[in-house]
């Protein structure tokens, strides 16, 4: 008699949150490790992306009440805000170059 087969490989909310934690930690490491402040600025998009992945994962797996795509919306706004912050930071760094 054939028993139940092995479980299919599947990603769940815990896996998504693990990946999000890795991205946030990589961003913090980037911001802390670089001696060059403009290079350390690259940690901001990484951290924002980690938060965005967590929000999108919540929206995909665990959004029970309220608008279901709220997490996706917040992830999108985080990506846009990260780009704006990088543009501002590198613009200020470019200005400092002439001094």
């Amino acid at each position: 008699m054939a028993g139940p087969g092995p479980d299919a490989v599947s990603a769940d909310l815990v896996g998504v949150l693990f990946v999000a934690a890795g991205l946030v930690a990589a961003g913090v490491f980037t911001a802390a490790w670089h001696r060059d402040l403009t290079a350390a600025l690259a940690g901001i998009p990484l951290m924002f992306a980690g938060a965005g992945v967590a929000f999108a994962g919540i929206a995909r797996f665990a959004a029970a009440g309220g608008p279901q795509l709220l997490g996706q919306e917040f992830a999108m706004l985080l990506a846009i805000a990260a780009t704006a912050l990088v543009a501002l930071g590198l613009g200020i760094a470019g200005r400092e170059r002439s001094r």
Binding site: S10, A11, D12, L13, V14, L17, F18, V19, A20, A21, L23, V24, A25, A26, V28, F29, T30, A31, A32, W33, R35, D36, L37, T38, A39, A42, G43, P45, L46, G52, V53, A56, R60, F61, A62, A63, A64, P67, Q68, L69, L70, Q72, E73, A75, M76, L77, A79, I80, A82, T83, A87, L88, L90, G91, I92, A93, G94, E96, R97, S98
Partner: protein
């Protein structure tokens, strides 16, 4: 989540984490720009496998822009004044943060819910952005406008003083 989405999620996560480590560890700015582009590609794949296709497109465009800015030779190096001990403490802090976040994700008791948002979600997201959360959308629009105008003004001052 079916098998194809699961494989896409894990592959994209690996690509994204590799790109993030490249951003953290590579020393040349063009290499960092390429690594950030790879990171954005992996992030878009993660969003796509989480049925967030519209967010994937937006993230891909935003992170490609970030990668181009970081790969540009136009900004100068600004050295921090902190010593190597503080940098190493920061790296240890990042490792501790990873441990805490991973532990809380592992021990968390989450309520799972069914998902009915569609694979791309552009129409529903548009309704959210412009009807439900119009104030947040306008706040982000103001932030982007101020940031880009400030960046353009700063670069213009630099060009004048050359």
């Amino acid at each position: 989540m079916d098998s194809l989405q699961t494989i896409g999620f894990y592959v994209s996560s690996g690509v994204s984490l590799a790109g993030g480590l490249g951003v953290a560890l590579l020393t040349r700015r063009d290499q960092r720009g390429v690594a950030l582009g790879v990171f954005g590609l992996g992030l878009a794949g993660i969003y796509l496998s989480l049925s967030a296709g519209y967010a994937a497109v937006v993230a891909l465009i935003c992170y490609a822009g970030c990668a181009l800015m970081f790969a540009s030779p136009q900004y100068r190096r600004v050295d921090a004044v902190v010593g190597p001990v503080w940098r190493q403490l920061g790296a240890i802090g990042a490792a501790l943060l990873l441990a805490v976040l991973a532990y809380s994700a592992f021990r968390g008791d989450f309520a799972y819910a069914g998902y009915f948002g569609g694979t791309f979600g552009a129409a529903n997201l548009g309704r959210l952005l412009f009807a439900h959360d119009a104030l947040a959308t306008e706040a982000v629009a103001v932030l982007v406008t101020v940031a880009l105008a400030g960046a353009a003004a700063a670069w213009r001052v630099r060009d004048r003083t050359r």
